[in-house]
């Protein structure tokens, strides 16, 4: 494997210190998570309590990807609400009734806080409690913040799951149970379930699942595996119920997936022999799939601008399994606890950045001219116009990328823009 030629920082997580930047940020707020959360949790509605900007943000970010009437909407605060002339709670009740009239089959409504609702201190937790009582168990109401003053992009999912985690039923069973945490596409969930089951780990729960009424129970025998790297608050909420985290890198690439499954297998006492017989065939398949892209990717440099929180495990994957050279890797924030098993695998001689200061960061991209820049939607086309190749980080949230079977697809996502460079005469379009 290419791992041999890459200098690895064997530093422990305590000594991993990205450069801090505090300037203009170019990231979505947590409301954006609603786009994939509402697809996954199929009996729930996400009601943002916010402004016209919030409504327009979700619409613009979801773009062309949603055709049917979506299960999300915005209760737009009007002048009277903001000026305190109307009782916001009465108004909210009225809007909720309107939603339920259109969609009587809904089982849960998430009340999602925004910057304006937080600045005027509208207490949505309180509203959720009141509405849950009013609808008497027919509909569950859960409040969380997706606001831009509290959350970036994927942190919206973290807050959503953390508030769901607060009232999970408690599990008093004696035997250990595995809970996989983080939204993954159904196809990935099925593959994961199959491999766990082949190793004899049965009854694995996924959180969130596709039904909001079907929540996993949790207790001191629950073992947690994180499927997504942005769930620090959810992790802490689950740990407060007594659950314990199984330390593992994230299931991205053959190496990450292998270590992830083995972490669970070790905890559940699966013998090395069984682990090998179940995990080796899909790992070899994943490595073969990756091999096709390694020639295209090896030696190419990349920069990641802070966006999705997936940056650190992806940089690990691209460096170790695809032979790429990370120049600068930014992440909106660094959660040492969540990244504990990733850090020892990271390549050294990379400029790691936490936070953002957009203009200087773009200047550094222009100076370094990496072969590929992974960035948000707003920045990609201007960089393309300057002759740089880009990958939209939001695609990494909408595409199945986790697990062995997706390892090749993941590499392909990064190979495609580079291939386009060869196919097109560079700079001929703008």
């Amino acid at each position: 494997m290419t791992a041999d030629v890459i200098a690895v920082s064997t530093q422990p997580v305590e000594r991993f210190q990205p450069v801090q930047e505090r300037g203009q940020r170019a990231v979505f707020c947590g409301l954006t998570s609603i786009i994939w959360l509402h697809r996954k949790i199929q009996d729930a509605f996400f009601l943002v309590v916010g402004s016209r900007t919030c409504a327009h943000l979700i619409q613009s970010a979801a773009g062309v990807m949603i055709f049917a009437e979506p299960r999300f909407g915005t209760a737009v605060l009007g002048d009277r609400d903001l000026a305190g002339m109307a009782d916001c709670h009465d108004e909210l009740d009225r809007v909720v009734a309107q939603v339920l009239e259109r969609r009587p089959e809904l089982k849960s409504i998430f009340l999602v806080g925004s910057c304006p609702s937080e600045v005027i201190k509208l207490d949505l937790d309180n509203a959720a409690g009141r509405l849950s009582r009013e609808y008497d168990g027919q509909v569950r109401f859960v409040a969380y913040s997706g606001s831009g003053i509290e959350t970036t992009f994927t942190q919206g999912e973290d807050n959503c799951l953390a508030s769901l985690a607060a009232d999970l039923p408690s599990d008093t069973r004696e035997e250990s149970r595995l809970l996989v945490v983080g939204t993954v596409p159904d196809i990935v969930e099925d593959q994961f379930r199959r491999l766990f089951s082949q190793m004899g780990i049965e009854g694995v729960d996924f959180f969130p699942g596709s039904q909001s009424t079907d929540l996993p129970s949790i207790g001191k025998n629950t073992r947690l595996l994180l499927a997504q790297p942005f769930l620090g608050e959810t992790l802490r909420a689950l740990e407060s119920h007594g659950a314990t985290l199984l330390p593992a890198p994230f299931p991205l690439g053959a190496e990450g997936s292998n270590a992830w499954f083995r972490s669970a297998a070790d905890a559940f006492g699966v013998t090395a022999q069984v682990q090998d017989s179940v995990l080796t065939p899909p790992r070899l398949r994943a490595e073969a799939a990756l091999g096709k892209y390694r020639d295209e990717l090896a030696g190419k440099s990349f920069t990641m601008l802070p966006d999705s929180q997936l940056e650190i495990p992806l940089a690990r994957f691209l460096a170790r399994e695809c032979g790429m050279t990370p120049r600068e890797v930014g992440t909106p924030f660094f959660d040492a606890r969540v990244m504990e098993a990733e850090v020892p695998l990271l390549p050294s001689e990379v400029d790691w950045v936490e936070g953002q200061d957009l203009d200087p960061a773009l200047d550094r991209v222009r100076a370094a001219r990496p072969d590929l820049t992974v960035c948000g939607l707003g920045i990609a086309n201007p960089l393309e116009a300057e002759g740089l190749r880009t990958k939209w980080s939001i695609e990494l949230l909408f595409t199945p990328i986790q697990g062995f079977e997706q390892a090749g697809d993941l590499a392909e996502l990064f190979a495609r823009p580079l291939r386009r460079e060869q196919a097109l005469e560079v700079g001929s379009w703008s």
């Binding site: 940020r25 990231v27 409504a55 327009h56 970010a61 009437e69 209760a75 003053i149 086309n381 116009a385």
Partner: protein, 159 residues
């Protein structure tokens, strides 16, 4: 409160960005939280503009609310001027910033920048008429009247 399920209607400050983007050497400093930076993609993705629109967002966070969002605004204003060196700066509030009442226009006047600063206020839209599109028009009127005024007051007349 009004339930909105589907909207193509942008907030009014997108109109201010549009004005800035339509002129040379004008830069907008928008007092706004980080999520509002999505407006960039309206220009770069949907309209496929080859440049980022000329806007710098303050991207204030909850921790700044406790400290000083006004200071954050002034720092951003100075950094935006230093980096972009525009001939004119436009300043505006997003809907969240409006609730903070930092008044970027008044703040910007104290900053002592060597270029004219125009504060943009959108006319409050009567509630009944919120169905209207974003409001570049009032920005444009404000801007052109200020430019005209400045031309007579401070720009040397070119014969």
């Amino acid at each position: 409160m009004e339930l909105t399920l589907w909207t193509y209607e942008g907030p009014p400050h997108v109109g201010a960005i549009r004005i800035a983007a339509s002129m040379r050497d004008v830069h907008l400093v928008l007092h706004a939280p980080q999520g509002d930076t999505y407006a960039d993609l309206l220009f770069t993705m949907i309209e496929r503009d080859g440049k980022r629109p000329p806007v710098t967002y303050t991207t204030f966070q909850a921790r700044d609310l406790g400290a000083s969002t006004a200071e954050k605004f002034l720092n951003t204003l100075q950094a935006a001027y230093d980096h972009h060196k525009p001939a004119l700066i436009l300043v505006a509030d997003s809907c969240t910033a409006e609730l903070l009442q930092d008044q970027p226009g008044t703040l910007a006047e104290t900053a002592g920048l060597p270029v004219p600063v125009v504060a943009w206020k959108w006319r409050r839209i009567p509630e009944k008429r919120t169905g209207e599109p974003a409001k570049p028009f009032s920005t444009w009127c404000e801007l052109s009247s200020r430019l005209d005024e400045m031309r007579w007051k401070s720009f040397p007349r070119r014969e």
